[in-house]
Amino acid sequence: MGSDYYSVSSLLAEETYVPVRLVHGCTGVGCVIDPSSDRPDLPAGARLDLPLWMVPLMAGRNMLQADLPVFYGNKMRRKMKAGAGCEDLRVRCPHYYTVATQLHAAMQASVTADEDFPAFILNTFRKRYKELLTKAPQVESSLEASQIQTKLSAEESQLFTAAAEASAAYHRWRSSGDSRPLVRVCSVKRKWAESGGEGDENAVANAAG
């Protein structure tokens, strides 16, 4: 909560369902929170799926223990290790990273946290970020872009659009003719800043100009 109280995307992310185990069971609301149950009371230790917005409040009071959903499980981790960029996150969980951070905080509160989980998420993001950043400037048609974007999570999709826009803006600037005096200034600066290896860069700058 806090700064993103009114953020639509974080509200949408919190609708993700997470497997939990009720420590004490519950009375009255069994049919509501567990559609597969036909009795209003759930026994202690009952397993069910709850939306993420309900988890942190209850995990903090030791009423439930949260587990990692399938898309953070061991099988997924092996797949991510093999090739993070190939996984289709949009189908599995469109707000992959937001859910991960919130869920981990909730699991830490109920002392069921998985130590390797943050490292796994960070590595996944790093690999996928690098990949989408190299792909974004090379995209030529909107069809190609949307094909790549179908595999990205909502957060990555934003980064992808930003990267594509930035590279388009750069190309516009390069071709508009305004860039010439600036490029010359840049090359002069480089001569001052570094003594070695300026040959290649000057060649590039001249080619651009």
Binding site: G25, D41, W53, M54
Partner: protein, 218 residues
Amino acid sequence: MFGKQAYELLQEVASVPADNLPPFNEEAFRSVIDEVHMQHERLTTVYNESRERHRQRQEEEGGDPEEAAAGWQGTEAEATELMVYHSAILRNKRLLFTYVKERAERIQELRWTHRTLPEHVKANLSPLEQQYFRQYDRLLNKYCRSGGQGVGLDLTADPTPPDDPYVQVRVLRDYADVVFSSGKVSLRRGKSHWLPSDEVHPLVMDGVLELVGGTGGS
């Protein structure tokens, strides 16, 4: 599941592009509030029942019922039920707030980009939202006027600084003869002209002209 209805309500707004608004869903809005009332009622009932049971137990044991300690005395399972209601109420509240705020922000944004509300949006606003737009409009007009507390500048006129005082525009539909500072131009469909950019901006917003090329900022 609790909160489902409010979630769908928010999705109605989230799924349309930023310069448009779906109709204000009064019916769903009210039924979410009803849901919250129901949850609150259940919450207080469960809580009071449990307190009552605790008080009776203490009486049977011969203790002083008035001495009952403050705080929760029921079973853990009942506490879990209370938390389900509690978190659902908070969630519903947050969803409704965001629904209203998201709409208000879009209305505000339209004032900056379109000056007036487009007809298809205007029809979808609730009376309160229309009032909000009128008052916001008045405030911004007052701020843009010269004298008093105003800055004397139409801030919505051109959001991006122009590279060139003149821009090339194409005329999209037949329009009257217009006098620009560069001279009189008769705007006929399909023609293109070089015109002062700050003067064509209102016509571009009305859809009479279209900017050609990347200059002038689109």
